[in-house]
C-alpha cells in the first residue's frame, strides 16, 4: 500500500465530511489518521463482510470525537458506501457525531464520553480471556482524555487482570480544547505513569505507519501494552497543524478548499 497516498485520501474524506456538516473535530481527527491506518490496514484481524464476527479483533476509539477518521477508513474498507460519509452528523444518518455501534457497521463500541472507551476495552479484553478467544483489543486514547480518572481505573484493572490482549494507544498531540495539556492540566511523565500502573510502554512517531506497526508487535506477555504515539494536531493541513483552535472549529469555504488542495487528491 502507498501509505502516503492513502493517508491523503483519508484526510481528504475527513475534510469533506467536516466541511459538509459544519461542525465536528478536525484537529484530533487529522492527528490519529496513521494510528488507525496501522491498525485497520496492517494489524487487526477483521472482515468487512462479517463485521460482527465474534472472533474479530476489536477497536475502541475512546477519543470518540475523532470518529471522522474511523468512518473514512471503514468506508474505504467497504463496511459502508463511501458516498454516505457526507451524511456525517445529519439527521437520519447512521454516522453519528460520536461512534454508535448500534447504527454504524464496523463500529465495535459506542464512545464519546471520555474515559469510558478505555474501561469498555478492559471489559472486552476480560471477556476474551473468559471465553478463551484469541482476539485482541486496541484502544485509541486522547491526551486530554487521560485527565479523566476513569482512564486510570481502567489502567489499574487492565494490569490487575494481566490483559496482554489489550493495547492502549495515545494520540499525543499535546493540545486540547482550551489550549495545551500543560496549560490545562499537565499529564506529567505519561509513560512512567502507565509503566507504574503495570503496562509495557513504547514511544513512536505517530505519523510513521511502519513504526506504529512495529510497536504494535511489541511483546507484552502478562501485561497490557501502552504505545505513546507522538502526533501533531491538525496533521496534514498546514494552517491547522499544532493549533488548538482547530480542535472543534468548522472550516469556511476558502479554508476548506486550501485544506483539500493540500491533500493532492
Amino acid at each position: 500500500m502507498d501509505y502516503e497516498k492513502k493517508a491523503k485520501q483519508i484526510r481528504a474524506d475527513i475534510l469533506k465530511m467536516l466541511y459538509a456538516c459544519q461542525s465536528g473535530h478536525p484537529g484530533g481527527s487529522l492527528s490519529c489518521v496513521e494510528m488507525l491506518m496501522a491498525l485497520y490496514y496492517d494489524t487487526m484481524k477483521i472482515d468487512p463482510k462479517n463485521p460482527k464476527d465474534p472472533d474479530r479483533d476489536r477497536f475502541v476509539l475512546s477519543k470518540g470525537h475523532a470518529c471522522p477518521t474511523l468512518y473514512a477508513i471503514l468506508a474505504d474498507l467497504g463496511y459502508f458506501p463511501r458516498e454516505d460519509l457526507l451524511s456525517l452528523r445529519q439527521i437520519h444518518s447512521y454516522l453519528q457525531g460520536h461512534p454508535d455501534c448500534r447504527k454504524t457497521p464496523g463500529v465495535d463500541v459506542n464512545t464519546g464520553s471520555l474515559g469510558q472507551g478505555a474501561s469498555i476495552s478492559v471489559g472486552l479484553a476480560m471477556a476474551a480471556k473468559l471465553s478463551k478467544k484469541t482476539y485482541k483489543v486496541y484502544t485509541v486514547l486522547g491526551d486530554g482524555e487521560c485527565q479523566e480518572g476513569l482512564v486510570w481505573e481502567a489502567a489499574m484493572a487492565a494490569a490487575h487482570y494481566k490483559l496482554d490482549n489489550l493495547t492502549f494507544m495515545l494520540d499525543y498531540n499535546h493540545l486540547q480544547i482550551d489550549g495545551s495539556n500543560d496549560q490545562v492540566m499537565s499529564l506529567g511523565d505519561i509513560n512512567a505513569k502507565f509503566r507504574a500502573f503495570g503496562f509495557e510502554t513504547v514511544d513512536v512517531d505517530g505519523h510513521n505507519i511502519q513504526e506504529i506497526d512495529a510497536a504494535l508487535r511489541t511483546p507484552h506477555d502478562g501485561k497490557p501494552l501502552f504505545i505513546n504515539c507522538h502526533t501533531i494536531k491538525g496533521k496534514g493541513v498546514s494552517f491547522m497543524e499544532d493549533q488548538y483552535q482547530w480542535h472543534g472549529s468548522p472550516m469556511n469555504k476558502e479554508q476548506f478548499e486550501k485544506a483539500l488542495a493540500e491533500q493532492e487528491v
Binding site: 476495552s121 471489559g123 473468559l130 476513569l150 484493572a157
Partner: protein, 307 residues
C-alpha cells in the same frame, strides 16, 4: 422465616448461574455486603472483583455485554446509580445494552451508616434513562423472581435491593410480570400504591383503614418502569384517593411516576408519602422510618386527610 433481600439476590444469582452460563458478576469490593459472594464462591471464573471503582466496573460490564455475556453489576445503590451514573447512561442505556444492575443498601434502611450511604434518589436516576427497566422487589421471594425476570429482558434492568431482613409477603406462585402491578388487596375508597419495603406497612395501613370503615386497596408496584398505567388509571376512577408510599425521595420516585400517569386526568385525589426532600442520617431503620414518616400510621393519617 425472614431473610434479607440482598441474600435472596445472592442466592438467586448462584442458582441461575447454573442454568445460564452467560451470566458474569462484577462487584466493587462489596461481595460480602451485596451477597454476590454466593456466586463468587460457586463460579469463581465468572466473578470479577473490580475494586472500589464503580465507573470502571460498569464500563467493564458493558465490554462483557458487547461480546454476549449477561453481566450483573452490584454495589451500594448510591455508588452504583450516583457515582457511575454517566457510565450507565452512556455505555449501557444509550445503546440498550444487556447489563443488569442490582444495587443493594438502598433507601433509609441502610440505617447506621447514615445519609452519605442512604440512597434516596436511585429510582429517579435510573428510571429517567430511556431503555431502562426498574424493578423494586418487596420481599425475598419477589427478589428472586426479579433476578430471573431481569435475565429474560434483553436490555438494561435495575433491581433495587434492600438490606434488612424481612418476612415474605408474596408467594412463590404469585405472578411476577415486569410492568404489571400486583393488586394485593382490592378496595373502593383509598388506593395505596407502594413498592419495596413499604409494601408491608402499606398492608398494615390498609388493615387500620378498613377497621375505620375505609375500604382500601393496596397495589404492589414492583415495576417502576415501565409503570403499569392501566392499574393506576383503574384505581383513579374507582377510588376517591390515591396515595403513593415509598422508601425514596418523593421527587423522582414511585410517587412521581404515578403523578406522571395521573397528570391531566380527572379522578381521585392524590398525594405522595415518602422521603420529603431531605437527606437521611444515622439510626436504626425502624427509628428512621418513624422520623421520616415511612410508617403505616402516617399513611393512615395522610389517607384520611384526602377523604
Amino acid at each position: 422465616m425472614g431473610k434479607s433481600l440482598r441474600v435472596a439476590y445472592g442466592e438467586a444469582l448462584a442458582e441461575l448461574g447454573d442454568v445460564n452460563k452467560k451470566i458474569v458478576v462484577l462487584d466493587a469490593d462489596l461481595a460480602n455486603a451485596t451477597q454476590t459472594r454466593f456466586f463468587r464462591d460457586k463460579f469463581p471464573d465468572r466473578f470479577f472483583d473490580m475494586g472500589i471503582a464503580e465507573g470502571n466496573m460498569v464500563d467493564v460490564a458493558a465490554g462483557f455485554a458487547h461480546t454476549g455475556y449477561i453481566p450483573f453489576v452490584s454495589t451500594f445503590a448510591l455508588f452504583g446509580s450516583g457515582r457511575a451514573y454517566e457510565e450507565i447512561r452512556n455505555s449501557v442505556a444509550y445503546i440498550n445494552l444487556n447489563v443488569k444492575f442490582a444495587f443493594s443498601h438502598s433507601g433509609l434502611s441502610v440505617g447506621e451508616d447514615g445519609g452519605s450511604h442512604q440512597s434516596i434518589e436511585d429510582i429517579a436516576l435510573m428510571r429517567e434513562m430511556p431503555n431502562m427497566t426498574v424493578l423494586v422487589p418487596c420481599d425475598p421471594t419477589e427478589t428472586k423472581k426479579a433476578v430471573k425476570a431481569a435475565i429474560d429482558i434483553d436490555g438494561p434492568v435495575y433491581i433495587r435491593v434492600a438490606r434488612p431482613v424481612v418476612d415474605d409477603i408474596t408467594n412463590a406462585d404469585d405472578p411476577f410480570v415486569p410492568g404489571k402491578a400486583n393488586v394485593l388487596k382490592d378496595g373502593n375508597d383509598v388506593c395505596i400504591i407502594t413498592c419495596g419495603l413499604m409494601v408491608k406497612p402499606a398492608l398494615e395501613a390498609a388493615k387500620a383503614l378498613e377497621e375505620q370503615g375505609i375500604s382500601t386497596a393496596v397495589v404492589n408496584m414492583h415495576t417502576i418502569k415501565p409503570i403499569d398505567a392501566d392499574t393506576i388509571l383503574k384505581y383513579n376512577q374507582k377510588c376517591k384517593a390515591i396515595l403513593t408510599f415509598e422508601e425514596h425521595s418523593i421527587i423522582g420516585g414511585l410517587g412521581s411516576a404515578v403523578a406522571e400517569v395521573l397528570a391531566g386526568k380527572a379522578g381521585a385525589k392524590f398525594t405522595r408519602v415518602g422521603i420529603n426532600d431531605k437527606f437521611g442520617k444515622s439510626g436504626k431503620p425502624e427509628d428512621l422510618f418513624r422520623e421520616y414518616g415511612l410508617t403505616s400510621e402516617h399513611v393512615v393519617e395522610e389517607a384520611k386527610k384526602l377523604l
